[in-house]
């Protein structure tokens, strides 16, 4: 992470990170996206500048509206995460949110989230819905606010500095056990979208539920993602990002890096530990260390991504 001296000293920022778990910075270098822990980047001699150009920051699972004992102040921890990103010396233009913006899809929760995100110094915010964002009876609050880029569908693609981004929705056709599902129409769309790209194009795919299998018994997977993975294997550099799990889980498989971001709201148990997923209550002085955001940097030589996870602690 690259921090500006004027806003936060590195120590202050590190301290701030230690309180929550702020995030991951993604850097692109040699066409490969590398996640780098923001706290680790901040501790490098060049404060992370050597990692390359910051490409985007990933926020996830902000759960605005949640107020139980695992974190009674989710607005506060989101605001702290936003300050952390604003303090980056070189701020990325893009911010991705991998869903569960709100806890109950209420209009006032979306409005609160929007007001908080308006403090973020970034030019573009791209989102996908989590299951908590589509829980309203008419399934319209999210699409009404964030559906413009996708014609109300929620899934879409865009290009930014030569990187192709694909936003997917896997929370609308809930399946037994709570696993994600893309559906035939979206799968056909994404196949078509990717087919037109050269294999040398760096690709970032993001969705709320994991597009890979993290813990099947808890529904931490997407049932029909395999054809998409097969299509992605021909690309030289692919990053597949998700939220939903509220902790960092990573896997590298060939050219594909899978990355699950922390929540800014509350942690969950590690896959398979305990009776099931759910808000994990940690001692108050540890909460910051398990919350955070991720940030990605684009490196020139070699051209690859670097990913940094930053905790609020």
């Amino acid at each position: 992470m690259i921090l500006s001296d004027s806003r936060l000293t590195r120590r202050e920022a590190l301290h701030c990170l230690a309180f929550g778990g702020a995030g991951t910075l993604f850097a692109l270098s040699g066409g490969v996206l590398t996640p780098v822990d923001l706290a680790r980047a901040a501790s490098l001699p060049g404060q992370g500048a050597e990692l390359g150009r910051p490409l985007f920051v990933q926020f996830s699972d902000t759960h605005i509206g949640f107020h139980k004992d695992a974190n009674p102040d989710v607005a506060g921890t989101l605001a702290a995460s936003i300050s952390l990103v604003n303090a980056l010396l070189v701020r990325p233009a893009l911010v991705l949110h991998t869903g569960d913006i709100t806890h109950l899809s209420k209009p006032e929760e979306f409005d609160r989230a929007r007001a908080l995100f308006s403090h973020l110094r970034a030019t573009e915010l791209h989102t996908v819905p989590g299951e908590h964002d589509v829980a309203d009876a008419t399934v319209s609050e999210y699409f009404h606010r964030f559906g413009a880029l996708s014609g109300g569908k929620g899934y879409y693609s865009f290009d930014h500095v030569g990187v192709h981004f694909v936003a997917l929705v896997n929370v609308l056709q809930a399946k037994d056990g709570g696993a994600g599902f893309l559906g035939e129409e979206q799968r056909a769309w994404v196949q078509h979208d990717l087919r037109a790209r050269a294999a040398s194009t760096p690709i970032v795919v993001f969705a709320h539920m994991p597009l890979w299998s993290i813990h099947d018994a808890w529904g931490w997977r997407t049932l029909d993602a395999e054809p998409l993975m097969a299509e992605l294997r021909r690309f030289g550099s692919v990053s597949v990002l998700n939220g939903h799990i509220h902790q960092i889980v990573q896997k590298v498989e060939g050219q594909i890096t899978f990355h699950t971001a922390r929540s800014t709201a509350y942690p969950q148990p590690a896959p398979g530990v305990g009776p099931g997923p759910g808000p994990l209550k940690v001692p108050a002085d540890r909460l910051a260390s398990v919350l955070g955001v991720s940030s990605v940097t684009l490196q020139r030589h070699p051209r690859q991504f670097a990913l940094h996870d930053v905790s609020l602690a």
């Binding site: 139980k68 056990g177 960092i248 990573q250 590690a270 305990g274 009776p275 997923p277 398990v290």
Partner: protein, 122 residues
Amino acid sequence: MLALTTTGLLSGSALLYAQAPATRHGDAERGRRVYQVCAGCHSLDEDDVGPRHRGVVGRQAGSVPGYAYSPALRDSHLQWSPENLDRWLQNPQALVPGAKMFFALADATDRADVIAYLEQQR
């Protein structure tokens, strides 16, 4: 193929879920801790993703006023006896096809304990 998985750190709270011997009536105190996994979607006194739980044992399914149930659960005519709750928590869609709770507790002791806890929340 290179496959490398790392998971985030975990607190000592995992110990909290160490297996207790199965008791016939369930251990309400342990059930209170198991209930934490329900807290992503439920609380005792407020509707959340799922309906509020106080008084649920013995209640008619789908009967909390103001909560938007799935038509399937609302029209199920089930009563939340401990036995029905046990079946629900094993697999909600097997008991009520079309229900919109996507969560299950695989372990019988966890289910018995959380039901014992809910029984006390009158």
